[in-house]
């Protein structure tokens, strides 16, 4: 099994690499363009993939990936399932602050609410942050890009005194447990 390993390669100077994994391949292109446009101080390389595992041919030339972002569209069940199967091909070292989930269409009324709940449970069980993004307008894409850049810079080690693991203790997704709900009732 070809696992993607977080620390098997040397980092580049003032460089951050982000991998966007999306089954539908629509949002990742827009997001990649915006991310590269908005970051002036750091060299950001954005790599796009449909799913993991990544092809073996590029193994040598691929740089060290600092942040893996799974983009899940809540309107289709397939998006969620493909993200789930891709998770198996990540080395466990990535889950210490180098993985992020990005969800679109979370406010859509036609989406069954159980899907968002199951994505939240998945993100909470892996201790990863869950971001909600709006992919139809430019402001939404820009906001999502800024948030991803903030997490990317920490994960790449470019922010002093902060590491990915430290940040993830604050940003990780939580699902309120049944005990908390009973207190409110």
């Amino acid at each position: 099994m070809s696992l993607l390993k977080p620390f098997s390669k040397l980092p580049g100077l003032n460089t951050a690499n982000i991998l966007l994994v999306e089954n539908e391949e629509q949002f990742q292109q827009k997001l990649a363009d915006t991310v590269v446009l908005h970051e002036k101080n750091v060299n950001v390389n954005v790599r796009l993939a449909r799913s993991l595992p990544l092809p073996m041919e590029n193994e040598e030339s691929r740089p060290r990936i600092d942040l893996v972002v799974f983009i899940i569209h809540l309107t289709s069940e397939l998006s969620f399932q493909s993200a789930e199967t891709s998770l198996k091909y990540l080395d466990p070292g990535y889950f210490l602050g180098k993985v992020c989930f990005l969800v679109t269409n979370a406010r859509n009324a036609s989406v069954p609410p159980e899907r968002l709940v199951s994505v939240r449970k998945l993100a909470a069980s892996l201790h990863c942050p869950l971001l909600c993004a709006e992919d139809q307008t430019t402001e939404g894409v820009t906001t999502a890009a800024h948030r991803l850049l903030a997490i990317l810079k920490v994960a790449a080690g470019l922010v002093p005194m902060a590491t990915g693991l430290y940040l993830s203790t604050f940003t990780r997704c939580t699902v309120p447990s049944d005990i908390d709900q009973q207190n409110f009732e």
Partner: protein, 352 residues
């Protein structure tokens, strides 16, 4: 001196910090207890969404409900909306409501006209009660509304025809919720309408003014459409469903619609093999497995994965339901099961 000052200061700070946190907790609790607004983070909705339902039993509904009234409800396509509880709605005052509503409609239609132009299209409104649809004591009785009017260009003696009809109902609503309502409120969360949109808007605004309620569109999301598909297929032995048709929309460019029609006997055999031995309850896992098997069969033949799209419509001979909130019940045998599912959807969609 300074040391004593610091010793004196530190406990004060500590006490202040404690008091602040206690009052915050108390105010949070009182805030939550006083209002009934529960912060639903989606987790509560997932808790309230049922994971299993009773298997639908075929029942001759005509024993409980007047067959003429049942005929009014079936074989017609209805548009669904949800309604928040109605304040001071009395089932005994229906005649009074009819008169008020007809006067309101006539006045709204004549707004802006100084002189009466054209024929007088007298609107007559009929409020009636459909007894027998409510399952439990807490359910309010179904109210049926009809608007009759003379057609334009009709002869003088022509009878008035039904222009608009609608009904408010509550079947097997959530017990806890119904019991928690104050006594002045009547909850009839499901509204089914059929007729011109202008009249629907007028009637909703009259209800909002008279009973202080809110209306909203109710769609049937893909999970509930899957429930309907499975429940209808499960009814095949008792009443022949004749076909199981599922319509998906795939997000391709241009968007592709897939109509997937399945022979009823095959659908029934598949459903039977997915079903566990528990005959009283149907669980959501069985429903998802049923739909997944249908999707994988389609994939094997056409290499199109239907789970990438969204389920839009489910129809059988027993009825059809569309994602945008249109429902048609073709046969009165399983009407209570469908209404129970729709009442649940309406109660979950309501803002309070």
């Amino acid at each position: 001196m300074e040391e004593r000052n610091s010793i004196v200061k530190t406990p004060l700070n500590n006490v202040l910090a404690q008091r602040r946190s206690k009052s915050y907790r108390r105010s949070m609790q009182s805030c939550v207890e006083a209002t009934n607004l529960e912060y639903t983070s989606g987790h509560l909705t997932a808790l309230r969404t049922p994971r299993s339902r009773r298997t639908p039993k075929s029942r001759d509904i005509t024993k409980q409900v007047d067959p003429d009234q049942v005929a009014l409800l079936v074989t017609k396509e209805w548009q669904l909306s949800y309604v928040t509880p109605l304040y001071h709605f009395r089932h005994t005052q229906l005649k009074y409501y009819s008169k008020q509503l007809s006067a309101f409609i006539v006045s709204e239609k004549q707004q802006g006209l100084a002189i009466e132009v054209g024929q007088e299209l007298g609107f007559k409104v009929n409020f009636s009660v459909v007894l027998g649809l409510a399952e439990m004591d807490e359910d309010a009785e179904t109210v049926f509304i009809q608007i009759l009017s003379k057609q334009a260009f009709a002869a003088k003696d022509d009878a008035q025809k039904v222009v608009w009809s609608g009904w408010l109902t509550c079947v097997n609503g959530d017990l806890e919720y119904l019991r928690s309502l104050p006594s002045e409120f009547v909850s009839l969360p499901l509204l089914c309408t059929r007729g011109p949109e202008s009249l629907t808007v007028l009637i909703k605004s009259w209800f909002e003014k008279t009973f202080d309620c809110c209306f909203g569109p109710l769609g049937i999301n893909s999970t509930n459409l899957q429930w309907l598909a499975a429940l209808w297929t499960g009814c095949h032995p008792t009443i022949n469903i004749q076909y199981l048709k599922l319509v998906w929309t795939l997000p391709t460019l241009p968007p592709m619609d897939v109509k997937y029609t399945i022979h009823p006997q095959d659908a029934w055999e598949l459903w039977d093999s997915v079903r566990q031995d528990d005959i009283t309850d149907v669980s959501i896992e069985e429903v998802t497995r049923f739909i997944k098997v249908l999707q994988s069969h389609f994939f094997r033949h056409f290499r199109i994965d239907l789970s990438a799209g969204s389920l839009m419509q489910v129809s059988t001979a027993l009825g059809s339901s569309h994602h945008s909130g249109k429902i048609k019940i073709a046969s009165p045998t399983y009407i209570t099961t469908i209404l129970q599912l729709l009442t649940e959807c309406a109660l979950l969609k309501m803002p309070i």
